[in-house]
């Protein structure tokens, strides 16, 4: 169906349009001719912004205005009227700007921006962007060691973190983006991978990272099957909640099975990976010694970076190849409409189970990498928030889009880490200001607003897997993702 239709200009039927209408419904001036509208619009915008500010004041009264703190002899109430007024002013300004430039503007900024974003995904450009990113990823450690010799360690560490999320995002993308199964317990497989490696290494001395890696993947895939089997009949939101429950059950068991997993203390002393038996240690037989370099702790970090880069690229490659195989097509068909899928003779059980297992396997790989990287794991690293974060990355990037996951990870993980380093923010907000505190708040807000603005994610254009004669770009508004999951 997709390939036979031509591109419809995004302005014609954008989801954003409907949303603008929904939000601006209370304003009768929305459809008035332009001259009057500008004036009316301003007055109405101001009134609307004032209402929003009042609402913010009501909402924030007991939270921003007052604060209960533990004091000797019970709770002590402090007032912060300054912060309360500031919050109201911020909401007023934000709502006014939104009104003027988005809801009541002749040409909403969001529409322009949205059209631009759709433009990004022009096949040629998308490919070039991907290539440029890949090239940069390949030389990244050397780039940082050359240009930022003092802070290379910090930057490469951040790159490892981002890459881990890219890999997790790609793994989850198979389940959520391709097969359309909303999995809120993905972190369970990450935990299974991490604990497999850590426990195997604790109980069997000869097992190192490279033996444990495939085993961890296999075990995670096995758990994917076990947890996937009972939820075969479930769809949509029920599936999401059950996967969440499974994820939490696994975490609680890890937390309480003290004899086996170490409980809340976790497992420490997870062995470090070696390069064909060469360890990254100082002295005789270490990496630096063998290759005739002077020892530097950065070598190990660079090594870690390349491991996770390779793992992530394998994930991506496998996903791209799988999409072209019958199973990948079956996943996408399943996402679009399960009933149609079944009536066409696709074995939905096997299709779902393979999606769960393969997605879980990559989660397991990432988990054992995480264990090796940290050298220490505990159930605290595998909470629901982690699942939500990975899901946020997949959703924000655009469900099913590989490059979208990369961009979302860089923006969300990298952007917020960068926030930490910006000095002038502390000058504005005072020395007690810690941007990292706002990390999850920004995450949540971004999740809500990007979903409302562009329900298909930032990069939402898809290339059809199968095309008749020539490939045509399909705009976000043409893709009825998840319609089959009503």
């Amino acid at each position: 169906m997709a390939s036979s239709q031509t591109v419809i200009p995004p302005s014609a039927q954008k989801p954003a349009d409907a949303q603008v209408e929904a939000l601006g419904r209370d304003a009768s001036s929305a459809r008035v001719p332009s001259a009057e509208r500008a004036e009316n619009g301003l007055a109405a915008s101001l009134r609307d912004a004032a209402i929003a500010a009042f609402l913010a004041g009501v909402l924030g009264f007991f939270f921003i205005g007052l604060r209960a703190d533990i004091a000797p002899g019970g709770l002590d109430l402090r007032t912060r009227w300054g912060a309360w007024f500031t919050a109201m002013l911020v909401v007023f300004a934000a709502r006014l700007a939104l009104n003027l430039f988005v809801f009541r503007a002749a040409r909403p900024v969001t529409q322009v921006l949205g059209a631009r974003l759709s433009g990004i995904a022009v096949p040629g450009l998308g490919k070039w962007l991907a290539r440029a990113l890949l090239l940069f990823a390949l030389v990244l450690p050397f780039f940082f060691t050359t240009f930022f010799p003092g802070r290379d360690r910090q930057f490469i560490d951040l790159a490892i973190l981002i890459m881990t999320y890219v890999m997790l995002g790609w793994g989850l993308n198979i389940v959520v983006g391709l097969a359309g199964l909303l999995d809120l317990g993905y972190v369970a497989f990450y935990a299974v991978g991490a604990y497999s490696f850590a426990l195997l290494a604790t109980y069997f001395d000869f097992i190192g990272f490279w033996i444990a890696l495939p085993l961890a993947g296999l075990l995670a895939a096995f758990w994917g099957l076990i947890l996937g089997f009972p939820v075969l009949r479930l769809r949509g939101d029920y599936l999401a909640i059950v996967t969440l429950a499974f994820g939490e059950i696994i975490r609680i068991i890890l937390l309480n099975w003290y004899e086996f997993t170490g409980g809340p203390n976790g497992i420490s002393g997870v062995p470090r990976p070696t390069l064909f038996g060469i360890e990254f240690t100082r002295g005789e037989g270490g990496f630096a010694d063998v290759f005739g370099l002077s020892y530097s702790p950065v070598h190990r970090i660079i090594f870690f970076y390349y491991i996770i880069l390779a793992l992530a690229l394998v994930t991506n490659l496998v996903t791209i190849r799988l999409r072209k195989l019958p199973i990948g097509r079956a996943w996408e068909a399943l996402r679009e409409d399960e009933i149609a899928c079944r009536s066409l003779g696709i074995n939905t059980r096997n299709t779902k189970l393979t999606a769960f297992a393969i997605g879980a396997m990559f989660g397991g790989f990432a988990g054992s990498f995480f264990a090796a990287r940290q050298g220490f794991i505990s159930p605290e690293s595998f909470t629901f928030i982690e699942s939500a974060m990975i899901l946020a990355i997949v959703v924000l990037g655009g469900l099913g889009s590989q490059i979208g996951v990369v961009i979302a990870s860089i923006v969300m993980i990298g952007g917020i880490e960068m926030l930490r380093n910006i000095g002038f923010l502390t000058h504005i907000f005072g020395p007690g200001f810690d941007p990292v505190q706002y990390r999850m708040l920004i995450f949540g807000l971004a999740m809500v607003f990007i979903m409302v603005w562009r329900p298909r994610g930032l990069i939402s254009t898809r290339e059809p897997s199968v095309a008749l004669k020539e490939k045509k770009r399909i705009g976000a508004d043409m893709v009825a993702q998840g319609e089959g999951h009503r």
Binding site: L59, F62, A245, V395, L441, A446, G482
Partner: protein, 309 residues
């Protein structure tokens, strides 16, 4: 026996709280078919507002007569929490009506994260303890065992919780079955398109549903605060999941079902902690959730869902 009786009382008390939260889930699911993942956090918001109002009344304004204080706290908390419920619906769910089905679930998760972190930032991450306000109770039974004397006690707090729940449930049932609002609500639940054609303002009805759900959650929040005496920004997650389990167990979309489910979940949790292991009590709740959704998706009192193509 005495131990069993005491646990029964505790379970019913806890179950009442879950039941009140579960109503919010069940109504929203009934009317727009989405899991309002942020509802547990609305409950948490309600608990925090209750605490703040309570502190304002007792420490700043110097009210001392507890019944009046609690009455004011309940009313103010219900009002303010309703505004929160309304805002969440307006910001995160209404723009997505008619979008694909998982979209509002994703924004709901986002909203849940936002609410938790907002409270964590503004009120701090540490727990807020409140000394027990309502002390004492009625001793029902005294039994002697080898371990010593076991007293079965029905505390005044528990009586208040159960009585409040019963009263609210009665008012609520009357509201749904007897008033125009309830009629509109039920009409939207059955067929929102048809209801809109017949002149029911669907958007307004949905907003009211969120407001009612949030108001009940606020009462549950106050009860939680008084019963346990400790709240933090994270209480909404577990309580929300358990209340959702209750809603599903009772049959999602059914109001008596939500209450029944709440009581059952409360009893199961308390008995599980009492007789098996307290560490795994959340596993019990999550397992029940999974089992019910998989094997009994229409719940105890729900209508089986017929799939139309």
């Amino acid at each position: 026996m005495e131990y069993f009786l005491q646990q029964l009382i505790n379970g019913l008390t806890l179950g009442s709280i879950y039941g009140l939260i579960a109503i919010g889930y069940t109504m929203v699911y009934g009317i727009i078919g989405m899991i309002n993942f942020a509802h547990g956090d609305i409950f948490m918001i309600g608990a925090f507002i209750s605490l703040a109002v309570f502190l304002v009344l007792t420490t700043v304004l110097g009210f001392a007569f507890l019944p009046v204080v609690l009455l004011i706290v309940v009313i103010v908390a219900m009002l303010f929490t309703s505004v929160w419920g309304w805002t969440v619906e307006r910001l995160a769910y209404r723009p997505l009506r008619g979008s694909f089905r998982l979209a509002p679930l994703i924004t709901a998760i986002g909203m849940s994260i936002v609410l938790q972190n907002f409270v964590q930032i503004t009120q701090g991450a540490r727990v807020k303890p409140l000394p027990p306000q309502i002390r004492g109770g009625i001793t029902l039974l005294e039994g002697n065992t080898d371990a010593g004397t076991i007293v079965v006690q029905l505390s005044y707090m528990q009586i208040i919780i159960v009585v409040t729940t019963v009263v609210l449930m009665t008012i609520f049932t009357l509201l749904i079955t007897r008033t125009a609002l309830g009629r509109a609500q039920r009409a939207c639940e059955q067929d929102s398109k048809m209801a809109a054609l017949l002149g029911v303002d669907v958007d307004q009805t949905i907003s009211l549903t969120f407001i009612l759900g949030a108001a009940l959650a606020a009462v549950a929040g106050l009860m939680f605060l008084l019963l346990y005496g400790v709240i933090d920004f994270y209480i909404g997650f577990l309580a929300g999941i358990k209340a959702f389990t209750a809603a599903v167990l009772g049959g999602i979309g059914s109001l008596p079902g939500a209450m029944l489910g709440g009581l059952l979940i409360g009893l199961i949790e308390v008995f599980w902690s009492a007789y098996f292991s307290i560490e795994y009590k959340d596993v019990a709740a999550f397992s029940i959730l999974a089992i019910v959704l998989i094997f009994l998706p229409s719940g105890l009192l729900g209508r089986p869902e017929v799939e139309k193509v």
